[in-house]
């Protein structure tokens, strides 16, 4: 293999942000016909390396060679015309445009300069069906679809651009297993066609499933480049974190019997909303972790939003123990000690212009009202505490949240909701984009909170995760509750069968 020349070579890349050294002396090679995984903890510099490559940020120092020629890329547009097609970590599409346009904008089919809409819709429909197995109305504006669908569309867009290099920055973070398999089969085919693929993920399984080569970054520094076959899992992890750790094994398996009280916390009866989720019955006990399992678009997010009153339900009702009437608004829900950590971190989570500290205290402050201000000293204490517990990096509470890496933003949002000490915590894809170390940390945290009496509604596309933490699993399919299982019934096989509709 050594006689093949890399199509892309980055040497000695440095990138400095105000106060943060994001990349220092990073080398990276990408070979045609290979999938190359870029690994590292949250904030290691993966996304930055990609953005530097595609001209979103300028390079402070270092060179980029494309097909043995040193090139200068000043904008994503340059990158695209140089044959680099990218899916960025956050979905970067235009919510106001139709699905088809989002796939084709900039490359619309035209005749005499006139855009052929019919053809575009047809192409888009075909593409999404063939490549992504997604059958949706492509004429609808993008904002009507969930983040996961948006992510699929972003991938479809990147795939449809004929390029030499394909970059996928955590494309699978909110996809379920089936979608991932689908994506991998496409990637394998492209690989065999000679495309060079850069792939970022925090799922080790996926790394070993698909990639040939691995580059590891830590704290913006280059650790090494390895062939996937030659790097054992445990070594990969220790190289990423910089120390040996037996992560996943450590999660305490507290049996749910000790934790779950008989006391009912929330009881939903015939609860639903037309066009979004069919009436459902759901009970959550105090101290219980209820997992929601289902495929993409099965209605998990929808249900969570209804419970939190982010959307208004139109049938049934929710009874909350000790509640004073129906929940009308999110604010109301928070007052009743419900917290909801949205899957859509970019649009519904972070407040870009505010600092990490302000983002953390926001929900708590909101419940306290305008005048009962949390003192600055207390705010600093809180921020420091959560930065330490969740290992938020850089550990500076005055950093603007928009400048944090994706995974670290997610941790800040978790901190925001944990701080309100809710009775019911709804977590929608809480570990989205979070590295393995932190993921285990968060799972442990959830369990220990439940131990203290908090109830959790846990949604994740990663089935293993749901299985690991849940006391009870509710399976949704086609926006309906199809099954509910407790205790010994819970097994990967059972859940999978229920999801698939067996």
């Amino acid at each position: 293999m050594n006689n093949i020349r890399p199509i892309l070579q980055m040497t000695g890349i440095h990138k400095q942000f105000p106060g943060v050294k994001a990349l220092s002396g990073v080398n990276f090679r990408l070979f045609p016909g290979e999938v190359h995984a870029l690994m590292g903890e949250n904030g290691a510099g993966k996304s930055t390396l990609i953005k530097v490559l595609t001209g979103v940020y300028s390079i402070d120092q270092g060179t980029v060679d494309l097909a043995q020629k040193t090139i200068k890329i000043n904008s994503p547009q340059d990158a695209q015309s140089a044959g680099i097609s990218t899916v960025y970590q956050e979905v970067n599409l235009c919510l106001n445009l139709s699905v088809a346009e989002n796939v084709y904008i900039g490359r619309e089919p035209r005749r005499f300069g006139r855009i052929l809409w019919k053809e575009m819709y047809r192409n888009a429909e075909e593409l999404l069906k063939k490549r992504m197995n997604l059958e949706i109305d492509v004429t609808q504006p993008l904002h009507t679809y969930s983040v996961a669908v948006q992510q699929l569309i972003a991938i479809a867009r990147a795939l449809s651009i004929s390029a030499k290099v394909l970059i996928l920055d955590e494309p699978t973070s909110s996809l379920d297993r089936g979608e991932v398999v689908q994506l991998f089969s496409v990637m394998t085919r492209l690989k065999s066609e000679g495309l060079a693929i850069l792939f970022v993920t925090h799922f080790l399984d996926q790394v070993y499933d698909i990639s040939d080569r691995i580059t590891i970054l830590r704290n913006g520094e280059f650790i090494g480049e390895y062939m996937a076959k030659e790097l054992p899992r445990i070594e990969l992890v220790s190289k990423m974190i910089g120390k040996d750790l037996h992560l996943l094994e450590e999660i305490p398996n507290i049996s749910s019997g000790e934790r779950v009280k008989d006391e009912v916390l929330l009881q939903a009866a015939n609860f639903g909303k037309r066009g979004s989720i069919e009436p459902i019955d759901l009970t959550i006990h105090r101290g219980e972790i209820v997992g929601l399992a289902g495929l993409l678009g099965s209605g998990r997010t929808e249900l969570a939003r209804l419970i939190f009153a982010a959307d208004r339900a139109d049938s049934g009702e929710i009874k909350l123990s000790g509640s004073k009437g129906a929940i009308q608004t999110p604010r109301h829900a928070i007052d009743q000690s419900i917290a909801f950590c949205s899957e859509n971190r970019k649009a519904e989570g972070i407040i870009d212009d505010l600092t990490v500290r302000e983002n953390i205290i926001l929900a708590l402050q909101a419940t306290q009202g305008w005048f009962k201000t949390i003192s600055r000293k207390r705010q600093d204490e809180i921020a420091d505490q959560y930065i330490r517990t969740l290992n938020i990096n850089p550990p500076n509470p005055e950093h603007l949240i928009k400048n944090l890496s994706g995974g670290n933003q997610q941790k800040v949002l978790l901190a925001r909701w944990l701080l309100t000490q809710p009775k019911l915590l709804i977590l929608d894809e809480p570990t989205r984009g979070i590295d393995i170390g932190a993921k285990a940390e968060i799972q442990r945290l959830v369990l220990s909170l439940a131990q203290k009496g908090m109830s959790v509604l846990f949604i994740s596309s990663e089935l293993e995760e749901v299985l690991r933490v849940s006391d009870r699993i509710v399976v949704l399919r086609d926006r309906r509750k199809v099954q509910e299982m407790i205790g010994d019934d819970i097994s990967q096989k059972n859940v999978m069968t229920a999801i698939a509709g067996g």
């Binding site: 505010l354 302000e358 402050q365």
Partner: protein, 342 residues
Amino acid sequence: MLKHHLFWPLTVLGALLLFNLLYAPDFFSIIMRDGHLYGSLIDILNFGSPLIIVAIGMTLVIATKGIDLSVGSVVAISGAIACLTISQGDGQNAVSLVFIAIGIALVLSIILGVWNGFLVAGIGMQPIIATLILMVAGRGVAQLITDGQIITVSNEPYKYIGAGSLATLPFSIFIVAALFLVASILTRKTSLGLFIESVGCKPEASRLAGIRSKTVMFAVYMFCGLCAGIAGLILSSNVSSADGNNAGLWYELDAILAVVIGGTSLNGGRFYLMGTLIGALIIQTLTTTIYMIGVPPEITLVVKAIVVLVVCLVQSESFRKTLISRWKTRHYPAESEVKQHA
């Protein structure tokens, strides 16, 4: 220090003052006359005070991603109703009458602010069109109050608001100081400021974080109305008359300009009250300078345009970078602006 958000506005203000100093050395001279200070700088503060006050209110509105075009009309209405009350009351010089007049004017301004807030937060109209309604109709209301005439009042206590002096300084400066203090405390010592910035930056995310964004919007439009009302009192009291048609004409533009020069973005989010204050002073200083150095009225606007552009350019980081890089090297890849972590 270069990084501080007030650095460039202050530099511009300094440069303007320096220009005046070079042009007319006695620009800075302040003398004592009849027990109060007298000089161009005092004039700038005095005439600038209504603008500063309106701009303070505007800052908060803009921070919520809104805009209030109706401030000019509210200025006119408040002045008109106050003068009408005084001119119709008996005992023109009674202090109590003045207080009643002020009370009526301010209550009316707050009501108008609430109206704006209702349209924006309650009904959900786009701020620019919601406030445009009051901008158009409000001017009519002001003229309705004055019956299209200029109401002249000769009431000494009333005159004191805008033209009197306290401890040798114009009284209006104290109003500004008080209001600035109130606004700062309200936004920085309570969590209102945090909520405003949060709502302005991401309304949906704020709603899910449990912030009552509608109440926040109501509050800022109400406050903005109040500010405009106070400015209207100062303006009308300064000339002891109320002019429904002309008072506060185009004030909204100057106020928005002041806010933006001060570093607050029209896209909402972070706001800087101190920046706004300096922005308003820049505008007033510029106006006074134009009068002082005798710029012919035909080219006043051209001068103003150039100064506004220069002010914005020096504040623009990309512009400074381009300048510097032109000096140092021949080419420099422009850092693309990326607002969010992608």
